[in-house]
């Protein structure tokens, strides 16, 4: 500790800048802990709530059939418990679509509700509201919620009373009203269940899918149809973990960039501090100190900075990871996680800082201890300008004025520092451009994703089956099917549309729009990523099982979609005359289907920016960290560079140089480096942002596209130029704090 304080007293500003930069970088690297922190919270909640490993939505399933199914399956080793639920989506004014989930309250063994406040429902009309519903409807325990638009069949126009607030891990991202089974059945106008949930000890996706196939077959034997693709959640996992990991790793890369920038700064600072001790080391060497001991002593400077950076950076990193995890989980899942720490990331950060410090200080320490003692004792600057042939050659170049020559030769003399400053500016510009380009790319992707569609509203019926009679369509509307399928382990949208549909632009990029029963058109980006070509036969798993289609065309739609004739898909799903979505070219469809209907407007759906903004916010925050670290590093590098030459600066002032002259010399050194840094940063930003976009594409098999944020270039350039001018002014002012006489005397 005393050694650390002694080091700090030597050059407090430089050391504190390095410590701060390293701490910020370690804090940013802490983002890599977000997946672990999030997973830990999600898994803990999932285990507590008995999150189901299989979820099957079905047509109506009676009490007896469910009881028989449970009795059979709970005998098996791969099933722990099997239960039924009744879920219905309804529209709540000012709160949007709310899931009303009927469960056997108080006796649940699967998808258990964790009550935060209040009590369980005791009588009809009482509900437990999820946190998301509380936020959306702005209600508390004791309030009532009116369920408007509760179906044209008038089955359940009613009011519910909130008696408790709680969540289950499975439903945690949704606004949900948990009610008694009978209440849910009354609202839905049904006498049974429409969901089968089961828990299993299996963590194998394949085993769970096989189990789902058996369950589907048994349900089919009982006359019950599975209406959506079975949802599989391996034991010990949570469905959104993967998404969080993907985003966090991308952001973590920016943290690593910040770390590298901080190490460059650390190298620059320690190099200066060690070089300044050339004479001190030589004196000790002359007195008999061994070079190895001297090197260890010199390296201690870097280790001191690294330890101080770790002491600040690790708590900062833990805080950053937990804040981001909390932000992500609250935004996407509605879970408020407890404090969590990722030991591997902490150990990685410690090794990164300590090994980094050891490496960056080793060269300077070796150079200082290897220099001949006599020379070191005589010459304070162990590396005077003109010692190398390149410097002598440069001294003969008379291009530019004297100030330009001073700047050029100084820049060449301290090449390592010049490269470091240019690299730090490169990192800052690259980070700015990556953040800006990701924002632009995501914006453009969202616009492109909705561009081919022509419908203005879509109406669905509460429940999960094909509940809309296709005959209700008129010349401005169409009953279609929108269901989830599985192709080659990719979750895809299987969309049933009419061959002459007007709901989407039928212009294909390759082949033709479908005409025959088994024809299919596939999203072009998805097709290219999974290797589907026109003429291929593809096998798609849908709710009812595996079916196959012949690919006749590729479409510019950006998602993972397979478009097939509605009648074919309806037949495949076991309900030939039905659909599950009413598309309309009007904002209000002329005719609405029977049941509880929910109509969404196209504009409302495309305006949903919340989740996109959350990701951009996190990207932006880490981008700010990288830019701050780089800014600190450039400022420190420049300050050190000018501080080292304070006697030269003072000598120039003594012979008549004004502050403006010195500022121009400093700028003359900095601006060419800034120009190099800007050019390299723009290129690196392009490559980095493109890489992130491509990795998102590879991970999601969708065509995200890429838009380089050219509009941000003038801003980035202006920021750097303004920063350079401001830095030069501040640095020159700092150097001028002492009188010339004092500066010149202490040389």
């Amino acid at each position: 500790m005393s050694g650390m304080l002694r080091e700090l007293r030597r050059a407090p500003a430089r050391i504190l800048t390095s410590v701060l930069a390293l701490a910020l970088a370690i804090g940013a690297i802490g983002v890599l802990a977000v997946p672990a922190v999030a997973a830990s919270s999600l898994r803990a909640a999932g285990e507590r709530d008995q999150i189901p490993q299989l979820v099957l939505t079905t047509t109506e399933l009676g009490d007896d059939a469910l009881a028989a199914l449970a009795a059979e399956y709970e005998q098996r080793d791969d099933v722990i418990a099997l239960e039924g639920q009744m879920a219905t989506a309804i529209d709540v004014p000012d709160a949007g679509v709310v899931e009303v989930v009927g469960v056997d309250i108080g006796n649940q063994r699967v998808d258990v509700i964790d009550l935060d406040t209040g009590r369980l429902p005791a009588t009809s009309g009482e509900v437990i509201a999820s946190t998301r519903l509380v936020e959306a409807a702005d209600v508390a325990v004791g309030d009532s919620i009116a369920l408007a638009n509760a179906g044209s069949n008038g089955a359940a126009s009613t009011t519910i009373d909130v008696v408790g607030i709680g969540n289950s891990s499975y439903w945690t991202a949704e606004p949900v009203a948990f009610v008694a089974l009978d209440d849910a059945r009354a609202i839905a106008g049904s006498d049974g269940y429409n969901r089968v949930v089961l828990t299993s000890p299996s963590s194998s996706t394949d085993d769970l899918r096989a189990l789902a196939d058996e369950l589907r077959a048994d349900l089919g034997a009982a006359g019950v149809t599975v209406t959506t693709l079975p949802e599989v959640i391996p034991a010990g996992q949570h469905p959104i973990e993967e998404d969080i990991t993907q985003v966090s790793v991308m952001i973590g890369f920016l943290g690593i960039v910040a770390g590298i920038v901080a190490l460059v700064l650390l190298a620059s600072t320690t190099n200066t501090l060690i070089t300044e001790r050339t004479r001190e080391a030589a004196v000790m060497g002359a007195l008999g100190a061994r070079p190895r001991a001297l090197r260890r002593r010199l390296r201690r400077i870097a280790m001191t900075i690294a330890i101080a950076g770790l002491l600040i950076g690790i708590p900062l990193g833990i805080a950053v990871a937990n804040v981001i995890a909390r932000l992500v989980l609250q935004e996407f899942v509605g879970v408020t996680p407890g404090l969590a720490v990722s030991i591997p990331v902490i150990v990685g950060s410690v090794l990164f800082a300590l090994i980094g410090a050891r490496l960056v200080s080793a060269r300077a320490a070796r150079r200082v201890t290897k220099a001949p003692l006599a020379e070191s004792l005589r010459d304070r600057d162990g590396n005077p300008f003109g010692r190398r042939w390149s410097e002598r050659l440069l001294a003969r170049v008379r291009v530019g004025g004297l100030r330009a020559r001073i700047a050029t030769r100084n820049g060449w003399h301290r090449r390592a520092r010049s490269v470091a400053i240019a690299a730090q500016i490169t990192a800052a510009i690259a980070a700015l451009m990556i953040v800006a380009s990701m924002a632009t790319t995501i914006n453009d992707f969202n616009a492109a994703e909705s561009e081919p569609w022509n419908w203005q509203s879509q109406t669905v019926v509460a429940g999960s089956g094909l509940d809309i009679d296709r005959s209700i369509a008129d010349d401005r509307s169409e009953v279609a099917i929108d269901t989830i399928g599985l192709y080659d382990d990719w979750e895809i949208d299987v969309r049933g549309l009419a061959a002459d549909t007007e709901m989407i632009d039928r212009q294909v990029t390759v082949g033709a729009w479908f005409a025959d029963d088994r024809d299919a058109v596939v999203s072009e980006g998805f097709a290219s990523r999974v290797g589907i070509d026109v003429g291929d036969r593809i096998e798609v798993e849908v709710a009812s099982g595996t079916t196959s289609y012949d690919v006749v065309g590729l479409h510019r739609e950006r998602g993972r979609s397979v478009f097939v004739p509605t009648a074919t898909l309806a037949t495949d799903l076991g309900q030939p005359e039905a659909g599950n979505v009413l598309f309309s070219l009007d904002e209000e469809p002329a005719a609405t289907p029977d049941g509880i209907v929910i109509t969404d407007r196209f504009t409302d759906l495309t305006d949903d920016e919340a989740s996109r903004n959350a990701i951009l916010l996190i990207f932006g925050a880490i981008g700010v960290v990288v830019v701050s670290v780089a800014g600190l590093a450039v400022a420190s590098g420049l300050a050190v560079s000018v501080y080292e030459r304070r006697h030269q600066v003072a000598a120039m002032q003594a012979i008549g140089a004004r502050r403006g002259d010195i500022r121009r010399i400093v700028l003359g050194e900095l601006l060419p480096l800034a120009a190099i840094g800007i050019a390299a940063g723009l290129a690196l930003g392009y490559v980095g942002a493109l890489g992130i976009a491509r990795s998102f594409e590879a991970a999601d098999a969708v065509e995200i596209g890429f838009t380089y944020a050219t509009g941000a270039i003038p801003v980035a350039v202006a920021v750097v130029l303004f920063g350079c001018v401001a830095l030069a002014a501040v640095v020159v002012r700092q150097v001028g704090r002492r009188t010339l006489a004092e500066t010149l005397r202490t040389s």
Binding site: G386, A651, Q653, A654, I655, G656, T739, A741, S747
Partner: protein, 261 residues
Amino acid sequence: METAPHSPLAPRTSPAPRAPLVRAIDLTRRWGRGDAAQLGVDHVDLSLGSSELVAIVGPSGSGKSTLGALIAGIDRPTSGSLEVAGTRIDGLSRDRLAQWRGRHVGIVFQDFHLLPTLTARENVELAVRLADRSVGRRERRHRALDALAAVGLGDKAKRLPNQLSGGEQQRVAVARAIINRPPLIVADEPTGSLDQAAGHVVADLLAGLTDIGTTVVLITHDAELADGADRVVEMLDGRVHRHLAAGVDVTMSLPAMAVAS
């Protein structure tokens, strides 16, 4: 010696002013406050005439370098007034003072303080560039070469400081100090880092400047160097202890310095 009109060794065309070139009244330089305050120069009154070679001598810590720095305008007095070459410099702004220094004073340091990245000629040329922006590049170069020739380094104009000996570096510093033909040269221990032979060369150069109307202030603890001065000002504890006129054997008058030298 024939000299060009712009040569640093050409006699001044304007007659030397009758008023003292340097006039310090009640000049004080103090660092810190209260009990911890340190006095560098303590209520000094001093007047130096034109074309004088004045040596300021005294033991370490006597305030001679501080007084020299104040006269050269590279330090500011805490109180008192200081007029040099007709300008009250104690109240000038930082930039005005820099401009004034460039035109009115040449400074020679013990450690030379040449810019290591500039050649000898460029170092000298820089002084012209900073003092007078109206001087063209070609003229600057000629004047720099003339100044170097005047100090005997015409053939080493392209050398970097690292390629010159200590004595040669100090002669470059002298050339830099005289190139703008300032009325005042302040040399702080100019021979302190040099061997005897090189020291003599530099001392002779500085002494010769009075012939062209330049006032030279030599700050030194070298009694032999001070011996050749027109006037010797002895400092002690920040105050002017006594003035010794020309012809007095400084070596005898300042025995402590004689031993040191």
